[in-house]
């Protein structure tokens, strides 16, 4: 029996950008399964989102570094200087706020038992900017080695589409593409892996069935795997 595993964008971001326990779970999922597919819609969305996330975070950290460089006069970043940075220079940081806050908390602890120079902080931030561009799955050869793009043409399935409850953004297209893969002779069992149980699994408002029941009923997909992160380790 040949199994096909169709991944949604959140799983790919988990593999390539995140670096925590959820990342490990996503990597484990794709490493253990040799036939992981990325549909054209997911591929396009992944590329766009990945670039946007990396660009935004690196630019925010870079802008923050510029602020530190210009606003901090002291050469030594003492406990007091670091808390001044946290209070005054993190206000303008939007997405990267929590990472930088956690970084400075660590630095403050370190500052109690060793001297930390402003230059060290500048250099750390420079490195962080580059780290945002790293492929988190590099030790496995990178995300492109772990998954295959589904290249063949994908026809439309108006009957299936009409019955699908899922309606948010590109999600119905992703379902149709996964359905198509399920109908081909290349796979006998198809699983769709998602990090978005709200759209793909649970019941939404007063819909008659759960999204999962609906997808499994109207498409050829056999199972939906929930790879969302619930925060527990």
């Amino acid at each position: 029996m040949t199994e096909g595993f169709v991944l949604d964008t959140g799983v790919l971001i988990g593999v390539s950008v995140e670096n925590d326990t959820h990342h490990n779970e996503c990597v484990e999922y794709v490493v253990e399964r040799s036939d992981c597919y990325v549909t054209p819609t997911v591929e396009a969305e992944f590329q766009r989102k990945e670039a946007e996330i990396r660009t935004t975070l690196s630019e925010e950290i870079s802008e923050h570094r510029h602020d530190v460089s210009q606003e901090v006069d002291q050469e030594v970043a003492s406990d007091g200087v670091i808390s001044w940075i946290e209070t005054n220079l993190l206000e303008s940081v939007d997405n990267a706020y929590r990472c930088l806050k956690a970084y400075y908390e660590n630095k403050r602890r370190e500052a109690r038992f060793r001297r930390i120079d402003k230059l060290e902080i500048i250099s750390d931030l420079e490195e962080m900017e580059m780290e945002t561009w790293e492929d988190a799955a590099a030790t496995h050869g990178g995300v492109s080695e772990l998954v295959s793009n589904w290249d063949g043409p994908i026809p439309s399935y108006p009957d299936v589409e009409r019955e699908l409850l899922i309606c948010e953004g590109d999600d119905p297209v992703v379902c149709i593409e996964a359905h198509h893969i399920a109908t081909t002779s290349e796979v006998t069992r198809t699983e769709l892996a998602t990090t978005n149980p709200v759209h793909f699994i649970r019941r939404v408002d007063d819909e008659d069935e759960t999204r999962e029941e609906n997808i499994l009923r109207v498409t050829e997909i056999d199972e939906i795997a929930d790879l969302s992160w619930d925060g527990s380790i």
């Binding site: 971001i13 959820h22 660009t55 630019e59 990472c99 956690a102 750390d124 490195e127 780290e131 759209h199």
Partner: protein
Amino acid sequence: MADSSDFGPDAFLCHQVLRQMERASDGKKTVYETEFNKLCFLAYKELEEEGLADEVRLPMHWYQFGMKVWGQPDALAVLYNADNRGTKVIPQTLSDSAFSLRDELKEAIHRVARQLAGEYKFTFGTDVIVDDSYDEYAPTPFVKSYHEYRRTIEELEPGQQSLANFVDSGSAKGHISTVRPHLETLVSEYPKSTYNEAYAEFKQWDSVTRQLAKTGDVDALIELSKAFWKMFSRVELRIHHNVDIPSETVADWIMEREQHKQEFRSQLAEYRQIAVANREQTNHLEQVSDEYSETVRNMARDESR
């Protein structure tokens, strides 16, 4: 070729700058395009001080290496000829009577062109005149500092990296200690309100440049600095710093901005890839992996559905 009666003070200035250089150097000095642009600009600035610039009306804009004359060569009474060293600029064969301008202005242009020819007849290459025009006339401190940065990285030795590694017992310092002070100056001098169109690109450039300096990749540093400055000249400099350029041309330049930024962003992505592939591993984001990954998940969710 333009009708001789069309030649006004702007063409006379361009023509004279070349004629006087020919005369002063006994025909030995070849003027290339970059030097021609700078000579015209320096002549123009002299005339401006004398209150005559409004009459000359020579269209110019700031471009990669300083001010650049804008317009068709034959309308400016000169010819461009490419040889193996670059683009030579030579004066068309014309007598003074081909130019129509009042005598006093003619004399002033003569005098300024002679003076510049005397000053630059023995300088070969364009470094001196480019430095001179940056030193005196860079439109913002940022532009002047960028020129200094460019000069510095051109003098870096590619081999220095391995020596630094050796001396520093294995830690890759590369050229960052030489390059960083220049970048810090550029960061502090960047006029965000004037050059706001290219600010995001500047930040990304600064970020990748620092990493290339750390890995000591001098060739990549130089190539990336050229690509950045070309984009910056097109997106900001020629639009903000120009004289007598027709407004429809400036409007076209404004329309082209996005395309030039896009082109640069794809070049930058290639250099970033090189920088990321060659860098020494660091783990700052790993140390805050919970906060970082949660942020990534939120961003992936937010900007989609």
